[in-house]
Symmetry: C2
Subunit: 452 residues, 2 copies
């Protein structure tokens, strides 16, 4: 046995704090703005929609934030997660690169999303909230918030993007098993949902639309708050437990990554694996590269505008300083439902603007091809979202082979694809395409934005 395959940590090695990267950013992100007054959004405004705990963290500039005991208690169901040496993939590629991945697919819902669902449900619970609403794309976030809500005794309504609701019926069943209510979006349940259905009668739905619906319902119901699965700074914060664990594990492995890769929807799993290592770039002058793997059909970092834009499709959230394709942008119905989001979180956007993060577009067919190679080499069938990160890891490993360098590559396996097998079926059947966004579609959606 040549290399250790997995680095596992004991429960007592689980990090006790999340890392808040804003404390170390050389250029702080611009504030979110109230869309009516154009003044910076206040924490109090934020608390109308989110839990007090989430609001506190969204505005915090503290470097380290303690993870509550009740949250760590529930994290222990699946955390710490393994760091795995992708020795099978290295062999298949015949590369001198060392490839590691953090296996977040071992969580009971099969993805990293529980890392934020647990604290978000917890902060609502201790505040006395009774009901939560949320959106979900592929269903990973909705599944995660369902089990966390059940644990803390909260009712949950999930607006699930229609195309995913149809493509991934099992995710809906998972949410039902955990006791949540699931509604395909755009729905006829909310005012804005009815409006979307009228304006775009054949729409596949989008995360932006589902967010608008969930926000409307949260604002119109007593004792209700909204919870978001990505993008916001407090969500990215919660996900840093991934990278903090990975730091310890890489140290045990005796390696340090030259390149860190995550797939990119709103940015939270990417932030989770990246920020704890990026600290060394910001503070110690390390030169690690951070690559955000986004779908070519939704290329906010590589082809979007850095501007103030809304987080939802209707335009009710605060204006966020973000790389965006415009909140009216409707991404093609690719199977990586979790990556179909028009914008990037403000911390990630500022860091990308400052050159700490590279975006890279990945075509759908290349992503599936990478996912199948990975499945056969490592045994784990990845989620369609995660195949984007794998694809970039393979590109970099092949580049290292060309150059004859022993690069250390780390990527986040954000989730497994066992509930996404219908997507693999369609790939094998030759039913899937690449979707390259026409420039005019981007232009028309970002034209009116307040550029930064």
């Amino acid at each position: 046995m040549k290399v250790t395959k997995k680095i596992v940590l004991e429960e007592h090695d689980m990090p006790t704090r999340w890392y808040n990267i804003v404390a170390d950013m050389p250029n702080k992100p611009l504030p979110m703005l109230n869309p009516t007054t154009k003044q910076p959004t206040t924490k109090e405004e934020f608390e109308v929609l989110f839990s007090k705990g989430a609001a506190e963290q969204e505005f915090s500039t503290e470097r380290w934030i303690d993870i509550p005991d009740e949250v760590r208690d529930l994290y222990r169901i699946y955390r710490p997660t393994p760091l795995v040496r992708a020795s099978g993939l290295e062999k298949a590629l015949d590369t001198p690169a060392k490839i590691y991945f953090k296996n977040e697919s071992v969580s009971p819902v099969g993805s990293h999303k529980l890392n934020s669902a647990i604290p978000q449900a917890y902060y609502n619970k201790i505040q006395g909230i009774k009901h939560l609403t949320t959106e979900t794309g592929a269903g990973q976030w909705g599944s995660a918030l369902s089990i966390a809500s059940k644990h803390f005794g909260l009712d949950l309504t999930v607006f699930m993007v229609k195309v995913s609701y149809e493509q991934k019926p099992y995710r809906k069943s998972v949410m039902h098993t955990y006791g949540a209510t699931v509604i395909p979006s755009p729905s006829m349940t909310t005012g804005i949902g009815r409006q979307f259905n009228q304006d775009y009668p054949n729409t596949a739905g989008s995360l932006g639309m589902a967010i608008s619906e969930a926000v409307e319902q949260a604002l119109n119901q007593p004792d209700t708050r909204y919870a978001l699965g990505s993008t916001m700074s407090h969500v990215c914060l919660h996900q840093t437990i991934i990278g903090e664990e990975a730091r310890k594990q890489m140290e045990i492995a005796g390696d340090y990554p030259d390149i860190v890769i995550g797939c990119f929807g709103g940015g939270s799993n990417f932030a989770g694996i990246s920020f704890p290592f990026m600290r060394d770039n910001l503070v110690n002058g390390a030169k690690t590269r951070f690559i955000a793997a986004e779908p070519a059909s939704c290329p906010k970092l590589t082809r979007g505008q850095y501007a103030y834009d809304f987080g939802d499709a209707q335009g009710v959230t605060p204006l966020i300083p973000m790389y965006t394709l415009g909140h009216g942008f409707q991404p093609a119905a690719i199977h990586a439902g979790g990556l179909r989001y028009h914008g990037a979180g403000s911390y990630v956007s500022q860091l990308a603007h400052d050159g700490y993060i590279e975006g890279r577009d990945v075509n759908q067919l290349d992503a599936f091809k990478a996912g199948i190679l990975f499945s056969q080499a490592e045994g784990i069938i990845p989620a369609p979202e995660s195949t984007h990160a794998i694809c970039v890891a393979i590109q970099e490993a092949l580049k290292a082979k060309e150059e004859g360098t022993e690069k250390v590559i780390l990527f986040n396996l954000s989730g497994h694809g066992l509930i996404d097998m219908a997507s693999y079926d369609r790939y094998f059947a030759g039913d899937l395409n690449n979707y390259i966004v026409p420039q005019e579609l981007i232009d028309e959606n970002v034209n009116d934005l307040m550029k930064l």
Copy 2:
């Protein structure tokens, strides 16, 4: 944090040997018989169908059998698996019992089946075999053998029980992703398949039928062997890694089980969790109880006959001394496809006959109810098969509560149910029933058997 949630082992703590319980059995099982000559089956006869390695182990009386390095190497993708304290379930039941489960669902195919698939593929590979055939019920075994075959460069054809092929399409997709060929059984591909289709035109299929097809194809193709996913002694042997790990982990936890529970199809996952602890009963006079949780619709241990019977539906395998419902018995189309098998392996049968194992029947609806309680309490949605073990664990935990005793209960979570969500959907929709087998159906199928 009151109790340690998970006991994890390092890779170097993984057992290096499988435990062969036959060495310690007070009454050795009767030999398998050649159905034509009625003489004991020889190892050479066995090698016509199975790999030499499997044949060697099937007939071995050695107590310990070394796990080859190449097998341990691949085990490390997911092993050692965690031992988990079911503290959420204990709380939900308000029981003084301590409940532990071994989490075999963390394997990339979501179940314990890889534990035998890897060595079986390996032994075929080193012997120069090119093709494998097998059967699968719910698809767990087929998925496992697919990835193991891919790793060792073997072609694989899987005959999948028709009802599962239709109920669980994602499992078929998993096998495709790993490169296997999947055929619904009974098929028109084999002679016996065509015969079954003619004799039982509306059959849901059965494991026994699928085995007959896989055996026929293996015998009629060059460089081909057959691999079986349960029942046989070499399969039970491979699964003992579950219990050997669990012994180390229970020791770390500072507990020893009073009751060990596994769901029961052919017996391999049950043997896997049980045999290493049963050694203490056989050798040291320990009094641990071992409960085999079988579906009420396929009750071989509680209502079957102890007799010589065939392993397949057609009657081509050796005669096996087993608890059986008759090889012609066609179980109802319950959703725990992996438990729809008419017989029990010979070691388990002898041990049950000698009073070391209790069978317990579980109704389908009780099993699903237990599975949902477990999902909400522990976060993991169990496979329909595993819900049978959970149901018995709950029964025993509630009994401990009644008696006010602090029993230590250990069960094997053989797999997760993320690919079985359609079954949960049907349960929630009220579409599922209990199936209690009429006595005359058992009687007519065991009437002609050679009783023991």
